[in-house]
Subunit: 380 residues, 2 copies
């Protein structure tokens, strides 16, 4: 096991009706800016619940943080927040709203242009931020990361800052999600776990089993929830899986990969494809191309999640990759680039961008531009 | 899943050589009291490592916090701390030293006698506390609980306060533990997980699997580590299991039991038997007496941890309880009261104490004095 330092101070407030606790969680002397995406929270009751809980607080609203939040939109939010001397942020939405609000929280404490912070990659001077989660997927509600896009240049980069002070997770808010939102949330959760798990075997029995515990849970509940479920317990386990899938609990003392995400981010930046949907295509490709390097863990994953124990090593690996693809397809997601109208031109651009950045990704730092090309070609 | 609020702010600093990070983790303007148990840290290098890391800090030492820390000893530490205007505590030891230091940290901020705090059960005004763990077992290094004893009356109660600011876990410090210390640490970890798991089934798939992940890990590594192991990776997983076993991560939205602990605490209070050793005797008794109530979870536990899938329901339950007893016995621990010279007199006293407290323990709040008697009689 590798040495590590771990700390996650976010207070998790979980369950039906918990949005009302906003009234006592945010001090009354704060000037709050509440941030939103589109209007879905007005249709599912979340907006009303937030408004009611904040009845005695002083707040303004900022609307319109889009999927894959753009610096162009966030600059406007930062300007509004500075103008109103905002000293507390409440993000109400999914991962995009929360990610965007993380950059706002840093931008409010920075004099220059906030894109400079994204390029720095990390900025720890922030206004406190809390969240009300509406879409289980990214884990942003309990981690310190964000991914910010720049529309004009089609760039998309990770940015790290402070953890949310608290996050409210009410599983009933998921009852109105679309099939596609649930499918992408499942894929996102599944691949987040994989980025921390599908590495060198034998690093930690506990971490392996905790990752497998979430993978197994997600596989088990997917058939029931992918078509829309109002089962509170199932949606609770989905919501908990998504948050626990990327809050650091699975990464204690073990190596991580993240090459699938790096490639997926480019697909989103270039084509606007939803994050979870990019992962469902790329991840099986990563397994195909890195099958020798990841052999030990693929076999363990195949056995413990899919019960694949018969046949030669190569047959078991083949079957495990097939099962993974079938799982994503069963969610109604594409597992090939051509299904999304993506081809050679995009592959060439991603290879070029990887080469230009001059870094290789993945656990072994060997996913260069040409390896990214191979991964994408394997799922064309 | 039940509604819950979760927050664990402790910073975990894990790995070989990490004790040296004390030098930068504690501010230089603090007046520190370092607390210790007996002299084992002088023989295993921990004391020297701490001294070296604190070379530029202002600190005093308090020695002699005993196993099952007593209010009598802790009063002395509090007096010394007050006299020296201590404003930071560093506990260097196992669960007893850390538990005792939690009461010291509250006692330093309280004008009355610290036993009043124990009777209150909770006190949140404290001096910051950090730990260097030397014995994986109690999880106290990453939770807010402590158990404090009063020698003169043979009482032992739980007390809750603040979390450690940080805890340093260096697996190499476990290499010098005795076989019995490791055995008791394994039993303690195992039963901590059980208190959060062996309840009503179907509350959370994720929590079930995370608990099972630690149980399975502990069962898997026990044969190698119970005879003393210098295998760094095995001891890392042992240390991680003990900490994760009682830091709240396994208890999200699920009911808990703790009746085994309540009975075990009385055995320690009355006989001085080591905490982990009491649990190895009592827990199989809890399963025997509450086998109908806990049927669903016993079957799940038997199948997932011990691979017991054949036979009638009653046969599977019998076999699962046997396997649990065999596991504790394989660690060299007693699984019957008579092996420790404990008999009817103690059972009667524990029944009397439970009745006197007038509360019933366990998930279903049905473990009264007479049920505690039945549990103890089943393992006499």
């Amino acid at each position: 096991m590798d040495n590590f330092v771990f700390q996650n101070p976010t207070k998790l407030i979980f369950g039906k009706g918990m949005i009302s606790s906003l009234s006592k969680e945010i001090p009354l002397d704060k000037k709050i800016m509440v941030t939103f995406g589109g209007g879905s929270v007005k249709r599912n009751g979340v907006y009303d619940a937030v408004k009611s809980a904040l009845a005695n607080h002083d707040y303004i609203e900022f609307w319109g943080i889009e999927p894959n939040p753009s610096i162009e939109t966030l600059r406007k939010a930062i300007a509004l927040g500075k103008e109103n001397k905002v000293d507390f942020l409440l993000a109400v939405g999914g991962g995009s709203v929360i990610d965007g609000t993380k950059l706002i929280s840093a931008g409010l404490c920075y004099d220059g242009d906030a894109w400079e912070l994204v390029k720095k990659g990390r900025y720890m001077k922030t206004v406190p931020l809390a969240t009300v989660l509406t879409l289980p997927a990214t884990g942003s509600e309990m981690n310190s990361g964000a991914v910010i896009s720049r529309s004009e240049t089609k760039e998309k980069y990770a940015f790290y800052s402070n953890f949310p002070v608290f996050s409210i997770l009410d599983p009933t808010v998921t009852f109105t999600l679309s099939k596609r939102q649930v499918a992408c949330g499942i894929a996102d959760t599944f691949v987040h776990v994989m980025e921390q798990y599908m590495t060198t075997p034998g690093q930690s029995r506990v971490m392996d089993r905790w990752s497998e515990g979430i993978l197994k849970t997600v596989v088990e509940i997917a058939p029931a929830i992918r078509n829309g479920s109002n089962d509170y317990d199932l949606m609770s386990d989905f919501m908990l899986s998504a948050t626990m899938g990327l809050n650091g609990f699975l990464a204690l003392g073990v190596t991580q990969d993240w090459c699938t995400h790096m490639i997926g981010h480019e697909l989103t930046a270039l084509h606007g494809l939803t994050h979870g949907a990019t992962l469902a295509i790329v991840f099986p490709g990563t397994l195909k191309v890195l099958r020798e390097q990841k052999k030990g863990k693929i076999l363990q994953y195949g056995e413990r999640i899919w019960n694949i124990v018969e046949g030669s090593v190569q047959e078991r690996i083949d079957r495990t990759i097939e099962k993974t693809e079938e799982f994503f397809a069963s969610l109604g997601l594409s597992t090939r680039l051509h299904q999304e109208g993506i081809g050679e031109e995009t592959i060439a651009e991603i290879e070029r961008r990887f080469n230009e950045r001059g870094v290789a990704f993945g656990e072994a730092a060997n996913v260069t531009g040409s390896v990214a090309r191979k991964i994408l070609e394997s799922v064309i």
